[in-house]
Symmetry: C2
Subunit: 149 residues, 2 copies
Amino acid sequence: MTLEEEIKQSKFRNVQQKAILNILFTSNWIQNKQKEFFEPFGITGQQYNILRILRGQHPNLISGAEIKSRMLDKNSDVSRLLDRLIGKNLVSKSQCPNDKRASDILITESGLSLLEKLDSSINNLDTKLNSLSEEEANQLSTLLDKSRD
Amino acid sequence: MTLEEEIKQSKFRNVQQKAILNILFTSNWIQNKQKEFFEPFGITGQQYNILRILRGQHPNLISGAEIKSRMLDKNSDVSRLLDRLIGKNLVSKSQCPNDKRASDILITESGLSLLEKLDSSINNLDTKLNSLSEEEANQLSTLLDKSRD
DNA sequence: AAAAAATGCATGTTTAAACATATATTTTTA
DNA sequence: TAAAAATATATGTTTAAACATGCATTTTTT
């Protein structure tokens, strides 16, 4: 289904504006699919985003600020997102000895094994979320990078 | 700045996944710019989305359900979004005589004149939000449509 | 070294999103 | 036509996002 059909709109100010609406619409569409996917595992897309960052870093420690700088949504309330993950025992936190303001965040064994469970089906999600060829996917990324210039 | 730089990540499961992250990141980026733009006018992006739909329809009446079907975010809480717009006197609501369940929504004069004020600078926003050529913008829309197949 | 600025994080508060449920009405089905 | 299903909206409740502020610590400036 094209954007025009999805939002029942046939006229746009210009093709650039149409592309913007399409980005916003597609982002919502992706997030809805992700929500369905993560729901049985008891986490949200944002929480998954943090767990993935922590695994990428594991077994190194990482601060909250560093996590924030790597997130997709730069406005995230990392402090309370981490609280929720700690509450689920997926993440642990301790004071950083070198910088007493900062905290050392680490993914727990339980968090790692949750991610492993997800790994097996995450490829299904990728293909469900994006049916482009390699070349097309690369083109898309290039255009998105360029559109933010 | 490329996605890799923006989220400090150089490896992705596959190019499709990278494209997905880029869509989500770019959508957040756009929404942040829009928020800045709309802030002085006292409305949010979603509220603007509704006002635009209502102007497109004006002077015809339109139901809440029909508005919802045209919105970018299909999960929108249209009922309370309309309440807020009515509170600002930008929109009016009455019971639909043909279908007593439904409501007839209409943009007010005040709503129309707000949109007119926005029109003059909205093109600046478009160009700020998307620096692609016509051809590239079309390509981008095509790829996004295709990625949702 | 003292003062000023910046940083990392927590937390209070307001606002909105998410989710479920309720109600009235209309449409469909049997 | 009576019963069942679907529709349009409102609203209660829980949860999270948004925004601001505060505090301790570190870094920079003078």
